[in-house]
């Protein structure tokens, strides 16, 4: 009987508290998918990070504008004496949710944890050789060569409590080898602005404001409670917003924006995401697998690739398919990143006759057939973009057969180089051109060119790309970047389409601005006072 009474008393107290504090503000937040685990180092995906940012902090953080800011680290610099060592000074007096104080040991432990084989996050630390504690509030990262940009890679590397992890079977990131989840799958012990109250995967996650948070006073921290409820179906999600059961929806389809804007008490904010959408053309194989042209590969001819670029009507896709929710692009790389210029972001004027002439010059006056692979569950209106492209290419004689599929099937196919012609999107979390070059343009090897499905390979260019890793002279580095852009833009290995916009919708009083990385951090949200 006793526990029941205690429970009842607790419930009663809870009810009284919540009914008396008039200021209590709960944010009910929905999105199409849930985090796959709460373990902060297991998966490197946006949906995981957006949840983890509430419970955990990182050394440095990006605000809604994408600018780097101090978080658990108050200052950071490369040692003047040794360009391979980065030194981070930690914020003093930061408390974990269980009351213990953050020290350099926790940071070293977390980084080493993120480097373990089972951790997905290790790819952001590939250049790191070792992490060491200098004193309780100083940590050093030693890199394999000089890495001027290391700090940009640390925005999603969360700091856990070492002692807690050791006590709760969470020393290793969640591993598939163990047939059970670890201590961090359903629990969270960080220094974050919110503590975990309830975790029901795919159903709801309840977060309570951390009243001992170090950012109290300097951050708005408006929401006392956050309830995160994934809703997979677009229509159901929008309906839940309209009927008042949800306050903030993170992914609104473009076609619903206009209607929602005119709905009472709902505000839609849309803005660019740091992500380009483009088509890849496989020039590296002797013969296209799904084509009527035998014995040679049409995409191997740069004129054909130019023809594709000329045939695609980016403005029409922006206006009709995206309903204005995109910026047409002629390059893979957004204005957010280092190395982007207006000059590289040029595309040919849509001209079917000119495109046809290019095809004729290349020896394909009647065009050719090809299979186009496309996702249907990843990017904003991805399947619609592909359908539109098929029509546009058809007008110049390229007969594309569309295969649209889940990203689960699509991405492995690109990585294995199985497609002739495909759609892909590229987000740039480091905000630097190198991230584009290294994965999309560099010759395919174990560690580089992993998403280069075009077969594009240029040894001289590879050397230039690799030199960016250890170049500390920023001016020289930027000159090399400009040089690389010039070369790859002329090559037309890809046909860029646009930078996509994302749209958030919120009820009055819960306005969340658009985050360029699409991982809004709720502690920074400050809603207009009414």
């Amino acid at each position: 009987m006793k526990p029941t009474l205690a429970l009842a008393a607790a419930l009663l107290a809870g009810t009284l508290l919540s009914s008396f504090s008039a200021e209590a503000k709960t944010l009910r937040w929905s999105r199409s998918q849930d985090a796959t685990t709460l373990d902060p180092h297991s998966g490197n995906t946006g949906p995981n990070h957006v949840v983890a940012h509430n419970f955990y902090d990182t050394l440095v953080v990006r605000g809604f504008d994408g600018k780097l800011a101090a978080s658990l680290a108050t200052s950071w610099a490369v040692l003047p004496s040794d360009p391979t060592i980065w030194e981070f000074k930690l914020r003093p007096g930061v408390k974990f949710h269980n009351g213990t104080t953050l020290t350099a040991d926790d940071v070293v432990f977390s980084m080493q944890r993120a480097l373990k084989p089972a951790a997905d996050m290790k790819s952001l630390l590939v250049s790191v050789e070792s992490i060491t504690k200098v004193d309780d509030l100083t940590v050093r990262f030693k890199t394999k060569g000089p890495n001027a940009l290391l700090v940009n890679n640390l925005t999603n590397l969360f700091i856990m409590n070492k002692a807690w992890a050791e006590a709760n079977n969470a020393v290793d990131p969640q591993n598939l080898k163990e047939k059970v989840e670890n201590g961090a799958t359903l629990q969270a012990m960080g220094t974050g602005a919110y503590t975990l109250a309830v975790r029901e995967p795919d159903v709801r996650t309840v977060m309570k404001r951390n009243d001992n948070y170090w950012g109290k006073g300097s951050m708005p921290l408006e929401f006392d409670e956050i309830i995160y409820r994934p809703i997979k179906e677009n229509a159901t999600r929008v309906a839940a917003l309209l009927s008042g059961e949800i306050d903030f929806v993170q992914d609104i389809p473009p076609q619903d924006i206009q209607k929602l804007q005119t709905s009472d008490g709902i505000k839609v904010s849309a803005g660019a995401e740091n992500r380009s959408i483009f088509f890849g053309m496989n020039m590296g194989i002797p013969e296209l697998r799904g084509s009527d042209v035998k014995g040679k590969n049409p995409f191997a001819d740069v004129k054909v690739r130019q023809a594709v670029n000329t045939a695609i009507n980016r403005e029409a896709i922006q206006r009709v398919t995206m309903r204005g929710q995109s910026t047409p692009q002629g390059t893979i790389g957004t204005p957010f990143i280092n190395g982007y210029t207006k000059e590289i972001d040029q595309w040919p004027k849509t001209d079917a006759a000119a495109a046809k002439k290019l095809l004729t010059d290349a020896g394909y006056p009647n065009g050719f057939s090809v299979t186009l692979h496309c996702t249907n569950d990843r990017y904003v209106n991805d399947e619609g973009i592909c359908q539109a492209a098929v029509g546009m290419l058809g007008q110049i004689g390229i007969k594309a057969t569309l295969v649209s599929q889940s990203l689960r099937v699509h991405f492995p196919g690109i990585q294995k180089g199985e497609y002739d012609f495909y759609l892909l999107g590229w987000g740039i979390p480091t905000f630097d051109s190198h991230y584009v070059f290294n994965d999309l343009y560099r010759t395919k090897t174990q560690t580089a060119g992993t998403w280069n499905g075009t077969g594009y390979s240029n040894a001289a260019l590879d050397t230039k790309i690799d030199s960016l890793n250890s170049e500390v002279d920023i001016a020289k580095r930027n000159a090399t970047i400009a040089d690389i852009w010039k070369e790859i833009q002329a090559n037309n290995a890809y046909a860029p389409v646009h930078m996509q916009f994302i749209a958030y919708a919120s009820r009055k009083g819960f306005e969340v601005p658009v985050d360029v990385e699409n991982t809004p951090k709720m502690k920074f949200v400050s809603t207009p006072r009414s």
């Binding site: 997979k232 159901t236 839940a240 309209l242």
Partner: protein
């Protein structure tokens, strides 16, 4: 009798093994489960190591026997996508689906039987025609369309009922229920109607045609001839006779209600097993898919078995027919 029970039990086990084989064979070969767990940077060596850890390199026979052995202990491993124990995930989702199935079966019975009786007794009245029209519309509109229509009307336009999810959940030991709160019932109404509508029309039509037939039989005519009041004839004699097949069908339909909950749960984002199964199919989450299939098959086989045994207890002809055949 004992021999009959043993034979039926044997058959049930055989059926389950077959289903297990199908579940295993199909899902073992769909997609590459390692792809879920690696990032773009994972090296070939590491991919091979993960394959080995998952036991995907063993012979098919060994993998299948391991599968059956584990399934018997309700051990389905860890979900590829959720990275949690499948048994636990299913345990969490099971009450939601069972309560939804139960509520929709009740709705189907409580609305379907009276409508069926009425249309059976007064086949030509205006109200009967209306009922039949409603039942036809219920059969003709796909479940998902009915769900969307209900959400649009009662949540978005009128704002009367919650549009998604299971609310007002109370924990009772390892079971969770939404039957105890008003909020819980409110969130249950639309999903239960959506799921139960088809069964309702089924029961209504069944009761109607059974009533029509029974009312033509001689003993009903005699009952009337003896001067019994209509009410007594209809309910004491006619309805009683139609109820056995109705209850049987409802029992048998419970299995397919659980399976068809996939659609309803998708539309209403009801956190049950069906929604989890569909998400598992989309993400090639093999352990969840096989566990779900086996669970549905087991439920169905058990229900079938119970119905068969009940029947044989009531009607000895079945046992004999079974033997002769």
């Amino acid at each position: 009798m004992l021999a009959f029970i043993i034979r039926r039990l044997g058959q049930a086990v055989l059926v389950l093994l077959t289903v297990a084989l199908i579940a295993f064979a199909l899902f073992r070969f769909v997609g590459d489960p390692t792809q879920q767990m690696v990032s773009q940077d994972t090296s070939v060596e590491e991919r091979l190591r993960i394959r080995k850890d998952l036991g995907l390199d063993d012979s098919v026979v060994i993998q299948f026997s391991r599968f059956v052995g584990n399934a018997a202990r309700f051990e389905f491993g860890i979900s590829y996508q959720n990275k949690q124990s499948v048994a636990k995930l299913i345990g969490e989702r099971f009450p939601a689906t069972m309560e939804l199935a139960l509520a929709s079966a009740l709705f189907a019975l409580l609305v379907g039987i009276p409508m069926g009786v009425y249309t059976g007794i007064f086949p030509n009245s205006i109200l009967s025609r209306l009922f039949q029209m409603i039942s036809l519309i219920g059969v003709s509109l796909p479940t998902f369309l009915i769900g969307i229509l209900l959400i649009f009307t009662f949540s978005v336009t009128l704002g009367l009922l919650p549009s998604f999810g299971r609310q007002g959940v109370v924990k009772l030991g390892s079971w969770t229920t939404s039957f105890l709160t008003l909020e819980g019932w409110r969130s249950l109404i639309m999903p239960a109607i959506t799921l139960g509508l088809f069964q309702m029309t089924l029961i209504m039509r069944l009761v109607r045609s059974e009533m029509l037939e029974v009312l033509r039989t001689d003993y009903i005519r005699f009952a009337r001839a003896r001067g019994l009041p209509d009410r007594s004839v209809h309910f004491r004699h006619a309805l009683k006779n139609t109820l056995i097949p109705v209850i049987t069908i409802t029992g048998l339909q419970l299995g397919s209600i659980i399976a068809f909950a996939i659609i309803t749960e998708t539309v209403f984002q009801w956190p049950g097993m069906g929604l989890m199964f569909l998400q598992a199919v989309q993400t090639v989450d093999i352990p969840i898919m096989s566990a779900y299939l086996l669970l549905v098959a087991t439920l169905f086989v058990l229900i079938n078995l119970a119905v068969d045994l009940l029947y044989s207890a009531v009607d000895p002809r079945i046992r004999i027919a079974g033997k002769v055949a």
